[in-house]
């Protein structure tokens, strides 16, 4: 059950010939895959392509009707290996992941696939997580395309182009026997628009129409074939690709009246180029341009003929290529030098080497290009000075005043998150035992490295925390501590981490956070997900209830771990004790603590409708939330430093003698209980109460309540009278 349901949107996937399809870029790609007669799809979730996996997941019946096979793969390596189906058979296949991290994970299979070559079209849709809004280290997928000889498509970010390029991409893949990267930038994935749909096409082969098994030894990656494959890449596949790209005009040339200059841009940046030209009065909103543009919808390989043709008549061209190194610019220079074309090529000499080409960067770059090229004949609406000035109209003084007042907003754990009490426990333990070095991992729990927990030293990759602690463990004053999510555990952690650690007699602690889902990527299901009504213990109980399915605990035991404890994260005292004993025990080998607690976002989605229904059916329901006494709160905010819950916030102190704000629980509280448990285990203060509201009270509830209310009311009247005398 993912964060976002696409049940409504996927109905659009049935749209037939001529219908107008409206929606997000990601949904359009899914439709394009179906229109292309794809036979199998797969992938691994991660922004910005999580929704692609969610859409495919929610579209199972449509895929089933067509005979398209779908798998939510265990990792990107699994997904890449799936593409081997296209090596021997004319099966079109597509997989997707977040890049470059996913590409790195998949690289072994991808390299071999690229060496073998494909018969059916094979496409990897990579969500290029680069620039603002990215959540990973900044690298380009381009390097992988070059070194493995896979073609890289980077279409213009409008729905018709996106959809068209999927179909063309499959054809290109088949024409050149080469797997293809289809690159989508973050904003392109989420862009909305419309295109004219075509009918879906059922794949030629599926469960009802199987292929005839066919062996082609020359496609296996063993000597001597690997040398042939390397030669074939250059002698056959590359020329075939170039021929196809030229013949089908995958790259576009937009002519303009200033014919002696030009801009070469990747498709993904085209819209930003047009906007910059438009602001300079050199293009209109429909894309009519005065400066000729050569738009590389295929970013790799470059097409020498097209480049020479475009550049030959130009004195200067500007290459617009996001990120570093400037592979495309280097490639263009090589092509032009070999052909002895003397066009001056501008690129990273006047454009920023690193970072996104935003609207402002593009406007500055193009303006600088025209001025560097000394093209006084080209009138600019805005001078370079004006353009540089638009970067911010705010004065330096105001900026510094403003920056001092703007609170940073790092992504943090959600209200009621089951990981919060775990980190509260670790933080409390750290106060007792001294500073910890913690190997962290990818997932929601990565946010524990930020305020208010400040726990965690390194993040090496998905499921790699335990592995990354192994070089450190002999040099630490405490047993090595690694924290991993359930997603990371199944993705990679079990093999790279647990198995290797057991084999190497790793005397350290691994905490696996089991919240039931791949939560950080949008709450997708994972192998250890259990039936919703039985899912990991949360608020309902302090004891784990699971016993009858494939669990993380079983997997660890299977890998040879002897010391395993499963603890509910919400039981902070038990968690502290378990972690303490794991860190102090003499028992040899790896110690694994499975920290259980259902993802609160998913839980709320699951439980809220049930509660609403129960209340409306007249059943007795208790709802809890927390409350802080503003009279006893002294405003030291110790509770917040141990929690960071969004619903635990501050507000003005009602006490006329105090000035610091008091802590305050707002109405988004889900009553997870961590505030109270922290107040207990960290001996915080007596200001926290759990307030339970009873809906549809029974007769007994009402009677008991009425009695209590009456007694308290008697006291209240008496106290008011007394206070009236003691106050003035």
């Amino acid at each position: 059950m993912a964060e976002r349901s696409f049940t409504e949107e996927v109905k659009k996937l049935r749209a037939g010939e001529g219908e107008v399809f409206k929606g997000e870029g990601i949904l359009a790609i899914t439709k394009a895959l179906l229109q292309s007669g794809v036979s199998y799809v797969g992938g691994y979730q991660g922004s910005p392509i999580s929704h692609l996996m969610d859409v495919l997941n929610d579209a199972q019946d449509i895929l089933g009707d067509l005979g398209v096979h779908f798998e939510a793969n265990g990792s990107e390596a699994t997904a890449a290996a799936m593409l081997s189906a296209s090596i021997n058979y004319p099966l079109r296949g597509a997989v997707t992941w977040k890049s470059t991290v996913g590409t790195n994970v998949a690289s072994d299979a991808l390299s071999n696939l690229a060496s073998s070559g494909v018969t059916g079209g094979a496409m990897v849709i990579v969500g290029e997580d680069y620039g603002e809004g990215s959540s990973i280290m900044q690298e380009r997928s381009y390097a992988f395309a070059m070194k493995a000889q896979m073609w890289l498509l980077d279409p213009r970010p409008n729905l018709p182009s996106i959809v068209d390029m999927v179909g063309k991409g499959f054809e290109l893949s088949e024409a050149s026997n080469t797997p293809i990267f289809y690159m989508m930038r973050i904003r392109g994935c989420h862009v909305t628009g419309e295109f004219i749909a075509r009918d879906n096409v059922a794949p030629e082969y599926h469960s009802q129409a199987p292929v005839t098994p066919n062996r082609e030894p020359e496609k296996i990656i063993l000597p001597p074939f690997v040398y042939q494959q390397e030669r074939e890449k250059i002698a056959e596949r590359l020329p075939a690709a170039i021929r196809f790209i030229e013949e089908h005009a995958l790259n576009e040339i937009f002519p303009g009246r200033y014919d002696s200059v030009g801009i070469i841009t990747c498709g993904g940046s085209y819209n930003t180029v047009i906007r910059a030209l438009q602001r300079q009065g050199l293009a209109d909103v429909y894309g009519e341009t005065d400066i000729p543009i050569y738009c590389l919808n295929v970013a790799y390989p470059l097409i020498p003929n097209e480049l020479v043709q475009f550049c030959a008549s130009k004195e200067q061209v500007l290459v617009l290529e996001e990120g570093q190194p400037e592979y495309i610019e280097q490639g263009i220079q090589t092509v032009l030098r070999r052909q002895d074309v003397q066009t001056r090529v501008y690129g990273k000499d006047i454009m920023p080497m690193a970072g996104e080409y935003t609207g402002q960067v593009m406007l500055e770059g193009i303006t600088r290009f025209i001025s560097e090229a000394s093209r006084e004949d080209i009138p600019l609406k805005l001078s370079l000075e004006v353009v540089l000035g638009t970067e911010t109209p705010v004065s330096d003084e105001d900026i510094s005043r403003l920056m001092a007042e703007l609170p940073p907003r790092p992504a943090g754990l959600c209200t009621g998150c089951p990981e919060r009490p775990l980190f509260s426990a670790i933080k409390q333990l750290q106060e007792e035992m001294g500073p910890f070095h913690i190997s962290s991992d990818i997932g929601c729990h990565s946010f524990a490295t930020a305020a208010p927990f400040n726990l965690g030293n390194t993040i090496m990759g998905y499921g790699l925390s335990l592995a990354s602690s192994s070089g450190m463990r002999h040099a630490l004053p405490h047993k090595a501590i690694s924290i991993m999510g359930d997603g990371g555990f199944w993705h990679n952690g079990l093999t790279s981490g647990v198995t290797s650690a057991v084999f190497n007699e790793h005397d350290g602690l691994l905490i696996v956070i089991d919240n039931g889902y791949s939560a950080a990527t949008g709450g997708q299901d994972i192998p250890s997900l259990v039936e919703p009504n039985l899912i990991a213990t949360t608020l309902d109980s302090s004891q784990p209830k699971r016993d009858s399915w494939q669990t993380i605990e079983d997997a660890c035991r299977g890998a040879g771990v002897k010391w395993i404890r499963t603890v509910s994260t919400y039981n902070i005292a038990a968690m502290k004790e378990t972690l303490r004993s794991a860190l102090t025990t003499d028992a040899p080998g790896l110690k694994v603590v499975v920290a259980e607690g259902e993802c609160m976002l998913n839980r709320q989605r699951r439980v809220k409708p049930l509660i609403r229904q129960a209340v409306s059916e007249g059943r007795r329901v208790e709802r809890a939330r927390f409350y802080i006494d503003p009279e006893t709160c002294t405003g030291d905010h110790g509770c917040i430093r141990l929690s960071g819950c969004p619903s635990l916030t501050i507000r003005e102190n009602p006490d006329p003698l105090r000035s610091d704000p008091v802590s305050y629980v707002d109405n988004s509280c889900v009553g997870c209980g961590v505030c109270g448990t922290n107040a207990h285990s960290a001996v915080l203060c007596p200001s926290f109460s759990r307030v339970e509201l009873v809906d549809n009270p029974t007769a007994w509830d009402r009677m008991l309540n009425a009695t209590r209310v009456r007694v308290r009311e008697w006291w209240r009247v008496r106290d008011r009278k007394r206070m009236a005398k003691r106050q003035f």
Binding site: H190, V394, Y627, I640, L693, K725
Partner: protein
């Protein structure tokens, strides 16, 4: 508003989980129904909450003889017509990023605050200056429409996206009919709440967000007329104090009588009088004000009887009920989280018993079985009886170990304030009184660091007020090792 040659560009800054995506979808539909092109894109990030998220939309009228326009996916500085922020600091962030151009951008924001983690986790007041952002919004926006949309949606029981849509519609920045926006909200489960929030927000935005100007309540404090014997005794004495101290003194005296008795308040007043005589700031008596305030707070320190007293206050129940939105007559249970420690019990005993208890390992071991984390249902009659019993122990307070301990620290601080020979120095030491905060370990940390600073002051005759203030700031950093330059004497035991 609309430019003939281009698009209307709009950026929306929201916080994760606030419904920025829903708002964007409404805007897309409004554009569609009005015959406009609309392209949107987002940096919604991942599923987690609290992070800032950005949505970007461009609008343009459809023309039947023209192809689809080429729209940008990036908000660009100098190219934003409408900027929307769901919270005022996010509006500030857009200004800081240069998205608000004085000649062009209409800035629409809810001016409530959602505090960031660094603001919340400070030991004192770490919140940012909202007025500064409001002032900049006025200065840098072509128009700046702001009001508290959070309050509106809470009142109507819906989410902020509905009020934001109302504000966008009411601002007139988009050339779509009001009915077109309203129709979008009129289906679904929360249609009623959404529509009323939309309408109210629409009206406020139409009047430029100013609404009816209500001047802030800044009338000077005046002492009430005596209504009982107590008031007749005390009010004239407070009225004799310098005007700037009267409000503080009024609250302090009332608090201390409530906390202990009139003699206790008398003691406070005599100390404040000494401060007034000593105060070089004759005009506003700033030293007496600052030190007097902290003195009253410290003298009314939160021991078990005090907490019990506050927990059975007659108005507390109605406060909780309104805060959790309990329906009339709905049963509400209140479970309080207490964690009495040996130290707090010792604090309640006579001086010699208390110190003996803390020294006796056997007694501590036995007692600790009875103490520790307790969750008590204070809506129950039995717990009310217990709390009232504990509250009544306050009459013996002066003879307790805890009182003696606090008293020693209070006296030490007060004497340091009084004996400082410069005004700035006295002010800085007085401000140290604000460090006394929290319970248990936190309280121990804050008070012992305060004592450490006083040690430092004693041992460094040439230290100045700025050094003390710097030490105070460092001491309020909870996760640091605090060592004020010099060696310090033994820190006090926790109370």
């Amino acid at each position: 508003m609309s430019r003939n040659d281009g698009t209307i560009n709009m950026v929306i800054a929201a916080l994760g989980g606030e419904g920025g995506g829903v708002l964007t979808n409404w805007l897309i539909m409004a554009a569609e129904q009005s015959g406009w092109w609309c392209q949107s894109t987002s940096l919604a990030g991942v599923a987690q909450r609290t992070g800032a998220t950005i949505y970007y939309l461009e609008f343009m009228p459809r023309q039947s003889d023209m192809p689809p326009p080429v729209m940008s996916l990036f908000p660009a500085q100098g190219d934003i017509d409408i900027a929307v922020a769901s919270e005022i600091a996010e509006a500030g962030r857009m200004i800081s990023r240069g998205f608000i151009s004085p000649d062009k951008s209409v800035l629409i924001a809810s001016d409530h605050r959602v505090f960031g983690i660094t603001e919340k986790s400070a030991t004192g007041d770490g919140s940012v200056d909202r007025d500064l952002i409001l002032e900049m919004g006025e200065r840098y926006g072509r128009a700046f429409i702001h009001f508290d949309m959070s309050e509106i949606v809470q009142r109507h029981g819906t989410v902020i996206s509905a009020a934001l849509l109302g504000a966008i519609a009411g601002s007139g920045a988009l050339p779509f009919e009001q009915s077109c926006f309203r129709d979008l909200l009129s289906s679904g489960g929360s249609a009623g709440a959404n529509l009323s929030a939309f309408d109210e927000s629409f009206r406020q935005a139409q009047s430029g967000g100013v609404g009816e100007y209500v001047p802030p309540d800044i009338k000077a404090f005046s002492l009430p007329v005596a209504s009982n014997a107590l008031g007749e005794r005390w009010l004239p004495r407070i009225a004799d104090l310098p005007a700037g101290l009267q409000e503080m003194a009024y609250h302090s005296v009332n608090r201390l009588i409530d906390y202990q008795d009139e003699a206790y308040a008398e003691e406070w007043l005599s100390r404040v009088s000494a401060l007034i005589d000593r105060d070089l700031d004759r005009e506003s008596c700033s030293l007496a004000h600052e030190a007097g305030r902290h003195l009253a707070l410290w003298m009314a320190f939160e021991d078990i009887p005090r907490v019990a007293q506050l927990k059975v206050r007659p108005d507390r129940e109605s406060m909780i009920r309104s805060e959790v939105k309990a329906a009339a007559g709905q049963p509400v249970k209140v479970a309080e989280f207490f964690h009495p420690r040996i130290e707090e019990v010792a604090a309640l005993l006579p001086v010699s018993w208390g110190s003996a208890l803390l020294k006796s390992q056997t007694a501590k071991r036995w007692l600790s079985r009875l103490l520790g984390p307790r969750t008590l249902r204070t809506d129950r009659v039995s717990m009310q009886v217990l709390l009232r019993g504990l509250a009544s122990v306050r009459r013996f307070r002066r003879s307790t170990f805890g009182y003696a301990h606090e008293r020693k620290m209070i006296d030490r601080w007060y004497d340091a304030v009084l004996s400082a020979d410069e005004h700035d120095m006295a002010m800085a030491i007085a401000a140290l009184g604000g460090m006394v905060k929290g319970y248990g370990e936190t309280r121990y940390r804050t008070t012992s660091r305060l004592m450490q600073i006083l040690d430092y002051v004693e041992h460094s005759p040439d230290s100045d007020s700025s050094a003390i203030t710097a030490l105070q700031i460092a001491a309020m950093e909870p996760e640091s090792n605090f060592e004020p330059g010099r060696a310090v004497s033994s820190s006090p035991e926790p109370a």
